[in-house]
């Protein structure tokens, strides 16, 4: 009897485990079906090209024909020693630093003004400030080429009208200021985008909390620092993330404005890659630059997500 019972229970148990197995299989299949398209795209357009770049970067290759001239790490050595590459890295970091310290706080301030302050006509402001973001990058750059033209540009004509007798400024022709001119254009363009993000973040802040704090005797500064900004934390962390990645990948606007010139005065990693890798038929070398650029952004993204943005995800990222 007990033997019988034990037999029966094994039977049901094995039946149950079979069911469980089938269920798991079905689940796995379902997951596979959902993940496969995305994975296929990820592999063909991201992972495989990235691995391809790593491979190309070990060859001296002009982009035509098979890879034959294996040079180990010579491309990396060359770019490490190239003063222009160092300059490009430095400029990329400068753009990043200026974006975080100037562009974002400005966008945040305007968002607070337009979103919380009693600014009349705030809707029109919001619209006007967002318009530049809608323009494509080449169009932005071409508009600014006219504005910053050394002889007939709006910028210099305005300067002339306001302060007659001042020297004209070679906005894009002076190595010492070209990077700041470029940054100005980039700010004009991306400013509205961050402002909109901040305004969306601001909508998520419960006004009652601010109200309550005010009733408890907090002045506006305390409300801002202790209530509003901390509650917008996730948006701020996100915009810093986007801004850093954006600064490193900046290409089109700079290329149309200055092509990285004069004399590499506005060279950034992406323009350097294009100029020395693609235009001059050194695809192996260009790939080495791409790998470095990729590593910088990868390390930053992973580190930043893990250390800073972790709290913003409800589920584990890794």
């Amino acid at each position: 009897m007990s033997a019988l019972r034990s037999y029966a229970s094994t039977a049901t148990r094995s039946q149950a485990s079979r069911d469980k197995l089938r269920n798991n299989l079905r689940k796995a299949l379902l997951i596979f079906l959902f993940v496969a398209p995305g994975m296929a795209i990820f592999l063909t357009f991201l992972l495989i090209p990235v691995l391809g770049s790593v491979r190309y970067s070990l060859y001296k290759w002009d982009g035509f024909g098979p890879l034959t001239n294996y040079v180990e790490l010579a491309n990396y050595e060359r770019l490490y020693n190239h003063s222009v590459f160092r300059l490009a890295v430095q400029h990329s970091f400068m753009l990043m630093a200026m974006s975080i310290t100037i562009q974002l706080p400005m966008a945040l301030a305007i968002a607070l003004l337009v979103g919380r302050g009693a600014l009349p006509g705030s809707r029109i402001f919001r619209l006007l400030l967002f318009v530049p973001y809608v323009f494509s990058e080449p169009i932005t750059a071409i508009i600014w080429l006219y504005v910053l033209h050394p002889q007939s540009g709006l910028a210099n004509l305005t300067l002339d009208a306001l302060l007659p007798g001042t020297n004209r400024v070679a906005w894009l022709g002076d190595r010492d200021i070209v990077l700041y001119s470029v940054f100005g254009v980039l700010t004009w363009k991306y400013f509205g985008f961050y402002m909109i993000l901040y305004m969306a973040g601001l909508q998520g802040v419960n006004k009652d909390l601010e109200e309550a704090a005010r009733v408890d005797g907090a002045n506006w500064r305390q409300v801002l620092w202790k209530i509003t900004l901390p509650l917008m934390g996730n948006t701020i962390r996100l915009t810093v993330f986007l801004s850093v990645l954006g600064s490193f990948q900046q290409f089109v606007t700079i290329w149309v404005l200055t092509q990285g010139g004069p004399v590499n005065g506005s060279e950034v990693l992406a323009t350097y890659l294009y100029k020395y890798g693609i235009q001059r038929f050194n695809l192996g070398y260009g790939s080495a630059v791409a790998v470095v650029l990729f590593m910088i952004t990868l390390v930053f993204s992973l580190g930043y997500q893990r250390l800073v943005m972790r709290q913003d995800y409800s589920a584990e990222v890794f």
Partner: protein, 431 residues
């Protein structure tokens, strides 16, 4: 399952049939399309090419010519991209030299020597130019307009500065004196838009040519010498003399060739060092202003440097031509032959917007413009003809020449450093 199998076989058969169909040789009357890229963006110039294409299509009803017009710099970028993707246009603008040879190495251009040899080849007057479109008995294209770089100057502004407009400077010292005189008269002496870099590299290369002659360059190119040799360093030193006079428009490092034309057209600057296409470019930029400027325009060859090894008649120049892509249909070569026929060459010479300096015999008889006549004389009589460095040299070296000269202009490199930058790139690319 069965359905799948059937479907599989069906598609297999379909693929095979299509594959065979594609291999059937095109019959003479089969429709072919020639994809043609050129860089004549000005309206009148584009219209000229469209007309040439239309005429050819009328004679060859089976041919469809698809024209893509790109601005010079955009053209260069886009061509590199399609070349690296292995899909060259059938016919495209080419300046010959190292860049074209690079494409030839990769099998991306078509050898048209079989069609060229004989009558067609003999029809060219600019033989040296034709040779730059080929190598080792192979040819990949032909020159359409070919000239010399020289100094275009505004005679009115020369007169205003107290200079004799009919007696332009002949030596470097006279030239520097003229620059000073113009500057003192409140006139910007030289128009330059250095953002495009090739615009300024003429100055350095011409000085190197005057100082070292063809020998110095060929030695450096063949690696028997180097770009750090004396003439190349000295070229930088002489150029520095000019730069130190501050003869260029304000903010010229951030201006491009279009801006450079505008400065000349506004008669805000007295001279520019430019190729034979400059008058045509004025027309394309602003026909109204060009009509005012052109009658005042003069031309003189690059000044001679005292004690230089170069012959005063040596010419830096180049021109435009067209090369044939590797997969181009046969009709492309036929069309190219038509483009360089005496009739079309004459039409291009007479057309004010095109204003070419023709490359085939008999086409120059229609030229009345004294400037163009002088340019042709210099071109054909040059003891040594130097193609632009940035076309003759491999792209990595040519690009570095442009970078180094730009650094000289901006005061970011000494003459020695500029020469060393070029030599570094040359040592890596030239064997």
């Amino acid at each position: 399952m069965k359905i799948f199998r059937r479907f599989f076989f069906l598609s297999l058969v379909l693929v095979m049939v299509l594959g065979i169909a594609a291999r059937v040789p095109a019959s003479a009357q089969e429709k072919v399309t020639i994809r043609w890229w050129h860089i004549q963006t000005a309206e009148a110039q584009a219209a000229f090419w469209q007309q040439v294409a239309d005429e050819f299509m009328a004679q060859h009803p089976n041919v469809n010519i698809e024209i893509t017009i790109l601005e010079n710099e955009a053209f260069k970028s886009r061509l590199v991209t399609v070349m690296q993707a292995g899909d060259p246009p059938d016919l495209f603008q080419s300046w010959g030299g190292g860049v074209l040879w690079k494409y030839a190495d990769a099998g991306l251009v078509r050898n048209i020597a079989p069609e060229l040899e004989g009558e067609w080849k003999d029809s060219f007057a600019a033989k040296a130019a034709l040779e730059l479109y080929g190598r080792n008995g192979e040819y990949y294209g032909v020159p359409w307009t070919w000239g010399a770089v020289g100094i275009f100057y505004n005679k009115d502004l020369f007169a205003k500065a107290g200079l004799d407009p009919e007696n332009p400077p002949q030596t470097w010292d006279e030239f520097l004196a003229a620059v000073k005189a113009l500057k003192d008269a409140g006139i910007t002496p030289i128009a330059l838009g250095e953002k495009d870099k090739w615009t300024g590299h003429f100055w350095w290369v011409y000085l190197a040519l005057r100082l070292g002659g063809g020998d110095a360059f060929l030695k450096a190119y063949n690696r028997e010498g180097a770009f750090t040799d004396e003439p190349f360093v000295k070229a930088g030193e002489y150029l520095k003399q000019l730069i130190d006079l501050d003869p260029f428009p304000e903010g010229y490092l951030g201006m491009n060739y279009g801006d450079q034309q505008t400065v000349m057209l506004d008669e805000a600057a007295a001279m520019e060092l430019m190729g034979q296409w400059a008058p045509g470019a004025y027309q394309g930029n602003s026909p109204e202003k060009a009509a005012v400027l052109l009658p005042k325009l003069g031309w003189f060859p690059f000044p001679v440097v005292e004690g230089g090894a170069g012959n005063p008649g040596d010419v830096l120049g180049g021109g435009d031509g067209f090369a044939v892509g590797a997969n181009a249909p046969d009709e492309t070569v036929e069309f190219l032959k038509y483009i360089t026929s005496v009739e079309v060459q004459r039409a291009g010479t007479e057309n004010t917007a095109m204003g070419i300096v023709p490359t085939v015999k008999g086409a120059d008889s229609v030229i009345t413009d004294p400037i163009k006549k002088t340019i042709i004389k210099f071109r054909d009589e040059a003891p040594y003809f130097q193609l632009y460095y940035d076309q003759f040299l491999p792209p990595a070296v040519g690009g570095m020449v442009n970078d180094a000269v730009e650094a000289l202009f901006a005061g970011q490199a000494s003459p020695e450093e500029a020469a060393a930058m070029i030599e570094d790139a040359a040592a890596m690319e030239l064997e």
